[in-house]
C-alpha cells in the first residue's frame, strides 16, 4: 500500500472510530467522553514532550508555555479573525494557526537555549514558560487575569484523536528517518554525534520546534473545549504534570508517554471519592512520591525505551 495512504488511513480510522463511539454514547456518559478528550489532549502534550525529553535527551520544563501560545493564538483567531467562516473550518484553521505560532516560539526559544547543558536548559525553559505566562497576564486584550471568554466550543473526540494519531504517526515516521537517528545519537552522546558530523544544534532546535508546535495544537484543542482560558491553566505546574507523564511512562517511549498521559488523567477522576473522604488532595503528594520512587528504582519508567508494539504477545517471533 502507498505509505502516504497508510498514513492518512492510520490517522483517520482511529479518529472516526472514537467519534462513532462518542456519538453512540448516551448523554449520561458525556462526562467520560469529556475526560477522554482531556486525556487525548494530555497525550498529545506528553508524546510531544517525549520527543525533546526522551528521544533527544534534553530536559525541557516549559512545555506549558507553548501550550499557552497555541491556546491563546487559536482563541484570538477563532474570535477575531475568522468569525465569518463556518464553525468547523474556522476551528481547524485556528488550531493550526496556534500550532504554527507555538512552533515558531519553540524555534525562537530553542535557538539560544539549546547551546546549554542539561541542568541549565531545564531552568531556562522553565524561565521561558514563566515569561510567556507573565506576558499573557499583562496583555489586557487577551483578557489578562480575567481570562479569554467566548471561544467557540468546537473540540470533539474526533479532532482530538485525529491530532493525536497524526502526532504519533509523525513521531514514528520521524524516528525511522535520519532525523530520528540524529536525535538518538544526540541523546546517547552529544559530543560523539557532533564528532561524526551530526549538526547537533540544528536537530535539537528542530525537535524543540516540532514539540512546541504539537503542544500548540494541544493548546488550541484545549481552548476550544473549555470555551474559556486564563493564564493560570498554563503555569509551571502544568509543565511539571507533563514531565511526570513522560518520566513515568518511560522517557524515550512514545507509547509509554501516551499510556501514562491517559492513566494520569483518568486516575485523579477515579480518586475523587478518596479525596472527598479524607478532605485533602493527596494527588500531588502521590505523584511526587511516585516520581522519586520511580527514579530510585526504575529510572527507565514503565515502558523504558521500548514501544508497545515492540513487546508482548503480539510481536511476531
Amino acid at each position: 500500500m502507498n505509505p502516504n495512504l497508510k498514513l492518512i488511513l492510520g490517522v483517520l480510522i482511529p479518529a472516526l472510530a472514537v467519534q462513532a463511539l462518542a456519538s453512540l454514547a448516551p448523554d449520561s456518559l458525556s462526562y467520560f467522553v469529556s475526560i477522554l478528550a482531556l486525556a487525548g489532549i494530555n497525550a498529545i502534550l506528553a508524546v510531544s514532550l517525549n520527543l525533546v525529553n526522551g528521544i533527544t535527551g534534553q530536559f525541557s520544563l516549559g512545555h506549558a508555555g507553548f501550550m499557552a501560545v497555541g491556546a491563546y493564538t487559536s482563541a484570538c483567531l477563532s474570535v477575531y479573525a475568522f468569525p465569518g467562516l463556518p464553525g468547523q473550518l474556522a476551528f481547524v484553521l485556528a488550531v493550526l494557526g496556534g500550532g504554527l505560532l507555538a512552533g515558531l516560539a519553540g524555534w525562537l526559544v530553542g535557538l539560544p537555549s539549546l547551546r546549554l547543558r542539561g541542568d541549565y536548559l531545564a531552568i531556562v525553559t522553565l524561565g521561558f514558560g514563566e515569561i510567556i505566562r507573565v506576558l499573557i497576564l499583562n496583555m489586557d486584550f487577551l483578557g489578562g487575569a480575567r481570562g479569554f471568554i467566548g471561544i467557540p466550543a468546537e473540540t470533539s473526540p474526533f479532532w482530538v484523536m485525529l491530532c493525536l494519531a497524526f502526532c504519533v504517526l509523525a513521531c514514528v515516521r520521524l524516528m525511522a528517518s535520519t532525523h530520528g537517528r540524529a536525535w538518538l545519537a544526540i541523546r546517547e552522546d552529544e559530543v560523539a554525534a557532533s564528532a561524526v558530523g551530526v549538526d547537533t544544534t540544528r536537530y535539537k532546535v528542530l525537535a524543540f520546534a516540532l514539540s512546541a508546535a504539537a503542544a500548540g495544537l494541544a493548546g488550541g484543542l484545549f481552548a476550544h473545549k473549555q470555551a474559556f482560558i486564563n493564564p493560570n491553566s498554563f503555569d509551571f505546574m502544568k509543565s511539571v504534570d507533563v514531565v511526570i507523564m513522560v518520566v513515568l511512562g518511560g522517557m524515550g517511549s512514545m507509547s509509554g508517554s501516551l499510556l501514562a498521559a491517559v492513566a494520569l488523567t483518568l486516575l485523579p477522576e477515579a480518586l475523587r471519592p478518596l479525596a472527598q473522604l479524607t478532605g485533602v488532595d493527596l494527588r500531588m503528594v502521590i505523584y511526587s512520591l511516585a516520581l522519586i520512587a520511580m527514579m530510585l528504582s526504575r529510572p527507565a519508567g514503565i515502558m523504558g525505551r521500548k514501544e508497545l508494539w515492540q513487546l508482548g504477545w503480539w510481536t511476531k517471533r
Partner: protein, 300 residues
C-alpha cells in the same frame, strides 16, 4: 534622589537574603554538579520550623535578640537535618547515574515538600511571629532605615563571613574544596567524600534556613509555596555570579536584589519575576561562566 537611595537600600536588604540561599545552591553545585531544585523548599520548611519554634516554649515570648537567636538556631538545625536526609535517601543512591535522573529526582523532592506542607500545614498563609522589634533605626528625610533591615544585613553578612572563614581556613573547608575539584583525587588522598558531601548539604541548608528566618522577619508570612520564587531567583543569582563560586553567588545575589528593587520602583512590579529569568537567559547567552566564574572546558 531619596527614593533612589531607599530603593537601593531595600534592594540590598533583599539581595542579602537571596545571597544566603544562593550560597547553598552554589555549594551543592560545586560539589555535585547538581542543581538542587529542592533548595527553595528547604527554605520553606525552615520557615515553618522557625514559626513553630518561635511559638513553642523554647523561645521567649517577647520579640528581642534572644527570641531571634533561638529561632534562628532551631531552624538552622532542622534544615540541616532535612538536607542531610534528602541527600542520604534521594541523591546518594543515584550517584553515578545520568544527571538527568538526579535532576528529575530533585524536582520530585521539591514537589513532595511543597505538597506535603500544603497537606500538613494548610494552603493558607500563616503569620510569622514577631521576632524582633520593628521601628526605625535611622532616618534622614524621606530615607528610612528600619531596625529590621539592620538586623537582616548584619546577620546575613555575618554568616557570609563565617562561611568564608570556614571554607578557606578550616580542614573541613579544605576537604570541601578538594571534593569540589575532583571526587576521585580527594578520595585518593583520604578525604571521606560521602561525609564531605553530607556536610556540604547540611551547611547549605542551614544557610537557607537563616535566609528563611530573615525573610520571615522582613515579610511576616509563611506559606507552602513561598520558596519557589526566592529559590529560583537565588539560583539565577548564583549563575549570574558564576556557579560554584562563593563570592560570585553573593555578588550575583546583591545585584539581582538591587535590580529587582529598581524595576519595581519604576513601575514594573508585575514583571519582577520575569526579570530574574531574563537576566538568566542573558547571562547564559552572553557570558555563561558568570561574572566571577571561569570557563571550564568540557573534557571528552
Amino acid at each position: 534622589m531619596n527614593t533612589l537611595l531607599q530603593l537601593l537600600l531595600d534592594g540590598l536588604s533583599l539581595g542579602a537574603i537571596y545571597a544566603l540561599i544562593a550560597l547553598g545552591y552554589t555549594l551543592v553545585y560545586g560539589i555535585l554538579r547538581l542543581i538542587n531544585f529542592a533548595h527553595g523548599d528547604i527554605f520553606m520548611v525552615a520557615a515553618y520550623a522557625a514559626l513553630f519554634s518561635a511559638l513553642s516554649s523554647l523561645a521567649p515570648a517577647d520579640p528581642g535578640a534572644t527570641r531571634f537567636a533561638v529561632t534562628l538556631l532551631a531552624s538552622m538545625a532542622a534544615a540541616a537535618l532535612l538536607g542531610l536526609a534528602i541527600e542520604r535517601f534521594c541523591y546518594r543512591p543515584l550517584r553515578g547515574q545520568p544527571r538527568i535522573n538526579l535532576l528529575i529526582t530533585a524536582v520530585g523532592v521539591s514537589l513532595l515538600l511543597e505538597n506535603l506542607s500544603q497537606v500538613l500545614f494548610g494552603a493558607n498563609p500563616r503569620v510569622f511571629p514577631e521576632l524582633l522589634q520593628g521601628g526605625v533605626a535611622f532616618e534622614n528625610g524621606q530615607l528610612k532605615v528600619g531596625q529590621i533591615d539592620v538586623w537582616v544585613l548584619l546577620t546575613a553578612f555575618g554568616l557570609m563571613l563565617a562561611l568564608e572563614a570556614f571554607v578557606h581556613r578550616t580542614r573541613a573547608g579544605r576537604a570541601m574544596r578538594a571534593v569540589a575539584h575532583s571526587h576521585e583525587t580527594a578520595a585518593l588522598v583520604g578525604v571521606p567524600v560521602d561525609k564531605v558531601i553530607a556536610l556540604t548539604f547540611a551547611v547549605g541548608s542551614a544557610l537557607a534556613a537563616a535566609a528563611a528566618v530573615l525573610y520571615g522577619v522582613k515579610y511576616p508570612q509563611v506559606s507552602p509555596f513561598m520558596g519557589v520564587m526566592p529559590g529560583l531567583k537565588a539560583f539565577v543569582a548564583a549563575v549570574l555570579g558564576g556557579i560554584g563560586n562563593l563570592r560570585g553567588a553573593v555578588l550575583g545575589a546583591l545585584l539581582l536584589g538591587l535590580a529587582e528593587s529598581l524595576v519595581i520602583g519604576y513601575g514594573g512590579a508585575t514583571w519582577k519575576d520575569a526579570l530574574a529569568f531574563l537576566i538568566l537567559i542573558l547571562i547564559l547567552v552572553l557570558r555563561p561562566a558568570g561574572l566571577l566564574g571561569k570557563y571550564e572546558a568540557e573534557k571528552v
